[in-house]
Amino acid sequence: MTQTTAESPTSKQRAQLKVRTLRTDRWWLVPALTFAGLMSFLIYGVWAIFDKSYFAEPYIAPFSSPCLATSCPEGARFLGLAPFGDWYGLPPGLLILGLPGGFRLTCYYYRKSYYRSFWLSPPACAVSEPHTKYSGETRLPLIIQNVHRYFFYLAVVIGAILAYDAVLAFRDEHGNWGHVGLGTIILVANAVLIACYTLGCHSCRHITAGRLNHFSRHPIRYKAWTFVSKLNARHQQFAWASMYSVMIADLYVRLVAKGVINFPFA
């Protein structure tokens, strides 16, 4: 007689379903859209870094800010500084690309999105992944993802600089304050979305008070944690919104710099 208890040798086997998934919905749609969205950002980013039209007084394209090389036009230099001298001949955007790039690359939300859409690990819930082995983030290179909080600190600095650029966008091309063009609005919206994305980061949530066990002993940190938690609940939305806002703001400034869009409406 066949035994059917948990101890039965035959019971130690999963259901031998030969198909990758039995899902009947369009599970491939979200990873496909994510792949397309992230690829469009990467392709635009590569083009933007090597494009030289990144400054149109008073706007500076976010992909090239802060501009730290002597090759930057004088008005584009961050606080007038140019620590990278004549020896530096590459696009100035390359100097700072790694900071926001590293922040997004190690972000917990983006990890989910590219693990699913690029590495298919897994492509969707309850859909088998194609890899025969899996060690996750237990060893190199993925264990490096644990550096995320350091990129967060750097991303705060970049976010502050973009906010500073947005404030400077309230000047016109002659440097007079009081100008509000479409570019000003775009740069301000971008700075706000970048701030919401950066401050809603899981590492920020941990640093404010997530690491504590006694919220009641740290009321101010608890309040900060509560605020960050609210942003964190929308982290995915802010990740996408800020990614596209930075792309739109960057493209807009380049179009102004190229003369496609002209002042005073710019």
Partner: protein, 251 residues
């Protein structure tokens, strides 16, 4: 109005078996478990299915419905087209005993591997005093009904059986997070979460959160905070230095 629904149900013992087709009556307001019970009553009296409360609170009737981990008792038939064929299989990650009933002892084994709540020796039961805001975080995790669908859907063990010894699964990593966040728990669980229970295997793809019938934010509120705590302990030289200088822990 009732109608006849087409069902494909996994039948078999151990891992051997096949999907069998049935046509079953469905009435208004019914859930998948009701239809499975009707199937049992009318056409397949030996069909094995585990169930208990029929209210989404006992976690017994976990199964995969059209390939998605769901509770049979909480999946309304009205969410399907009347012409649709509904496929019902046992959870894929665990061995099958018979038909839709799995051997979930893996989960009990993992539960036993986690050291229990460890309060300070000088605090006696009845003397615990905690502020509401201090217990709120872990109260979310106490909603868990142990349906084990999070462990079932997690690709770390669903697609890689060989990872089972090293990985506790979302349900028990959440338990570790719950205890680590507890104001009165004295055990340091960060090192063991990473080294013994396999937190590093989690690549935060959030399937556990997607399938949780209690809507617990497993990834955002338990696994990622726990990963950050592990970073404090193992990978962040500044925090390590700070803890040496100020001699603070468990604040």
């Amino acid at each position: 109005m009732g109608y006849k629904a087409k069902f494909r149900v996994w039948r078999g013992e151990g891992g051997e078996g096949q999907l069998e087709d049935f046509t079953v009556e469905v009435n208004e307001g019914e859930v998948v478990l009701d239809v499975i019970h009707r199937l049992q009553a009318t056409q397949a009296p030996d069909l094995a299915v585990r169930w208990n409360c029929k209210a989404g609170k006992c976690g017994s009737c976990s199964m995969e419905i059209n390939g998605r981990p769901r509770l049979g008792c909480m999946t309304r038939m009205s969410t399907f087209e009347e012409t649709e064929t509904i496929t019902v299989t046992p959870m894929r990650t665990f061995p099958v005993i018979k038909d839709l009933v799995c051997d979930v002892s893996f989960n009990y084994q993992k539960a036993r591997e986690i050291p229990s709540f460890t309060p300070p020796k000088d605090v006696k039961p009845g003397e615990y005093r905690m502020q509401q805001i201090d217990v709120e975080r872990s109260q979310e995790f106490r909603k868990c009904i142990e349906c084990f669908m999070c462990n079932n859907v997690c690709h770390v063990i669903r697609d890689h059986d060989e990872n089972k010894p090293a990985f506790a699964g979302p349900r028990f990593l959440m338990r570790i997070a719950e205890l680590d966040m507890h104001p009165y728990d004295e055990l340091d669980r960060k090192e063991s979460a990473q080294e013994e229970h396999g937190l590093g295997y989690c690549n935060i793809t959030k399937c556990c959160t997607e399938v949780c019938p209690e809507h617990i934010k497993i990834t955002d509120n338990a696994l990622i905070p726990m990963k950050e705590r592990v970073v404090d302990r193992k990978y962040d030289p500044l925090v390590w230095l700070g803890s040496k200088i100020f001699k603070r822990s468990g604040v």
